[in-house]
Symmetry: C2
Subunit: 434 residues, 2 copies
């Protein structure tokens, strides 16, 4: 029998426990697929006594010393499902430098400091796989890192956060406001007690950085991503979207194109946006994730599936584990980070899209002319205007043609100070073909 | 500069010409991604003089001797986009045995005799990649061959033929009959002059065999696939489907499960079926392809994109070409065919699904009771019955609960001979959750 591949598992929460179960239940298949059995060398946890349900491992396999486990000579591969920047970075850099392959689901670390990990992997000649870090079980890493490597990706548009998609889908279906939908999501376990990372878009921004890095062969970090969450999205916004034949989704949009000076560059942004109900992403409901890719030759592709949860995430981890184990047996290393293009990041002000602006104005003659004049003054062309009088006040909804974020921001700032404009009720981007 | 990777291209039709153009236009990117330039050693064509548009290669690169080209010492990789069983098999076996990597889009050959190619690849220690053979640009090979290798795939349901999907989508949208929709598809270039391979399901069956082989780690050939085309689908069937909240698609369904004797086995079938409009595959329109995968841990995944056309297919070919070129430079070979499970093929009679049966009957008392008795006699449970009288005749539409194909076939045979049953108008399977 071939020598087993020995794995150190860091973390044993929902995902870790599922990895342990799948390793046990599918042992025969994994051995056949890899050509050698997988053995758990150890599982590092914070507390030994915690109830982890029925796991098919003895108590001796657990340790509270993750770094000690990583450094053990009998460990070939390190699987990390703890999350967070430190101490995970220290463990993984240690492992990679020592030539141990790493499989991680740690999107925050990859987006914050992927460079440290990639550099350590190059130094140690080790594999770094992270399919589970973006969109859970949906295979994206290999399609972007391999299948599309003979093509040129123009744009990646994703729904990559299940919590916010659940909330926005519920708001769309029931007409509920954000607070109510969040409460429901929390009760059903779709949102964490502190939902900040999800609803403020931090999680989606981290995934956007990873996707953009892969798609554009350029190192993109979380700090390069323009980020807006969904906490300001109201029931009225959702109703406005419906009236336009749209739905609101938290999108992560990574695109490649010329900047204002004509230099090839990358833009990554996360924000809520209206998209037409006919767009393939519009039908992605509940906590599902989907990533829409536009490439020069391949055209439009979409990848859809469960973005989170113990079993789907564990499936992605195990797929990576099979790959790195095979590579070790073959004595080879996968293609390393591809960052040769090193494209500059385009500032958010240069991002071009359409906008839906809702204004609360006094119902007087000349107001529309004044408002339209402000748009024109900043070169923002208006596609449609809808005015509904309400006695003293009127609601004015303006949808623009494509304009830069900077021009729109300047327009909104000036509108705010305009006489008879009582309030800018909302500003939402409109994505997808009109 | 690293020594170039030299490629022999067999075939220069729509796909081949696009490969040539992309190799030229993206040369710098491909070199950076591979670590060495790609060079075209030669292009084998049937006729030298044919107009191939403006291609960025000189006339000296063309040859009418494909086997001679494959055998040349300066050829590292062979790309085949000719199609058909012979002489493609001879060329590719020759290449693989000589240790030359092969990238092919030849689904017919892979489904008919994939074993010869895989065996030759093992013998020569060469790579065999064929992403373009199934669903064009949609990355499926790597997700099934790698990403899901730590998981267990239960079922693959695909729309894998663009021509028939275009025809059925048109029938659904306009109420046209099959002949009319086919004519339109031919005019628009979606169907070939001889549409047999598409409309009779041969193309989908070949792809189903390839998908099942990958998903279930078992050699599945075209002969193992139950195949029915769409030529019998009528405008009335489409209307009946609509009345049930369904649409009709040509599905390729590969599933793993116990056979009648409880033995783990594989079933692959291609046939038109009604699916609920809420199913993710129902929204796949025009000539698009999509493959829906259900895995134990990953849950539901869907892959969507263009299944055919020069550029999308060329994108898949180039992705494979980058991979095999990298492997050659690294002196390694990708994981070879995984057929260790070697599951038996379950007979079609044991396939279990629901059915929609439309009968033309005499409008007499007792007919419904007699018909219901025949279903009961074969253990086929009825879910709904709808009878619409038309004077002398009545139309009887029966939708069953899940039953085996054998039981349904026996039921239909007996119904055909029943007094007062004038005709079995149609029998369609109903897939997806009720």
């Amino acid at each position: 029998m071939t020598k087993p591949v020995r794995v150190a598992l860091l973390g044993c929460g929902t995902v870790g426990a599922e990895v342990v179960r799948l390793l046990h239940d599918q042992a025969a298949d994994l051995t056949a697929r890899i050509g050698a059995p997988i053995e758990l060398a150890g599982i590092a946890v914070r507390r030994l006594g915690r109830d982890r349900g029925a796991l098919p491992v003895g108590p001796a396999v657990f340790t509270t010393d993750p770094l000690g486990l990583v450094k053990r000579d009998d460990v070939d591969v390190v699987v990390e499902v703890v999350g967070g920047i430190e101490p995970a970075r220290t463990w993984l850099v240690e492992a990679l430098r020592a030539g141990k392959s790493v499989v991680t689901a740690n999107k925050a670390l990859l987006a914050e400091d992927g460079a440290s990990l990639h550099d350590a992997a190059a130094e140690g000649g080790a594999d770094l796989y992270y399919e589970a870090a973006v969109a859970g079980a949906i295979p994206l890493l290999r399609p972007l890192r391999e299948s599309l490597h003979g093509d040129s990706v123009n744009r990646v548009t994703g729904i990559v956060n299940g919590t916010t998609n659940y909330i926005l889908s519920a708001m769309d279906a029931t007409g509920a406001g954000f607070a109510e939908a969040l409460e429901q999501a929390t009760e059903l376990g779709y949102a964490e007690a502190d939902p900040t990372a999800d609803v403020e878009g931090f999680d989606a921004a981290a995934k956007g950085a990873i996707l953009a890095s892969l798609a554009f062969h350029t190192r993109v970090g979380a700090a390069d991503v323009h980020r807006e969450g969904i906490t300001e999205v109201t029931a009225a916004d959702v109703a406005s979207a419906k009236a336009m034949g749209c739905t609101i989704k938290l999108l992560c949009i990574a695109s490649r194109g010329p900047d204002a000076a004509g230099v090839d560059s990358v833009s990554v942004r996360v924000h809520p946006a209206m998209i037409p109900r006919t767009h393939p992403l519009a039908g992605v409901g509940d906590a599902f994730n989907a990533v829409f890719v536009e490439a020069r030759a391949a055209g439009q592709l979409m990848f859809y599936g469960r973005g989170a949860g113990g079993a789907p995430t564990a499936s992605a981890v195990l797929g990576d584990l099979v790959a790195v184990a095979r590579n070790r047996l073959a004595g080879v290393r996968a293609a390393s980070e591809s960052a040769y293009a090193a494209l500059p990041i385009r500032p958010m002000g240069e991002a071009v899209t359409r906008y839906h602006i809702s204004l609360d104005v006094a119902d007087r003659a000349g107001v529309l002319a004044a408002v339209a004049g402000v748009f024109a003054g900043h070169g923002v062309s208006i596609a449609t205007v809808r005015q509904s009088g309400r006695g003293e006040d009127a609601e004015l909804v303006v949808v623009t043609h494509r304009a830069s974020d900077a021009a729109l921001a300047a327009t909104v700032a000036e509108l705010r100070d305009l006489e008879h404009v009582r309030a800018i009720v909302s500003v939402l981007r409109v994505e997808g073909e009109p």
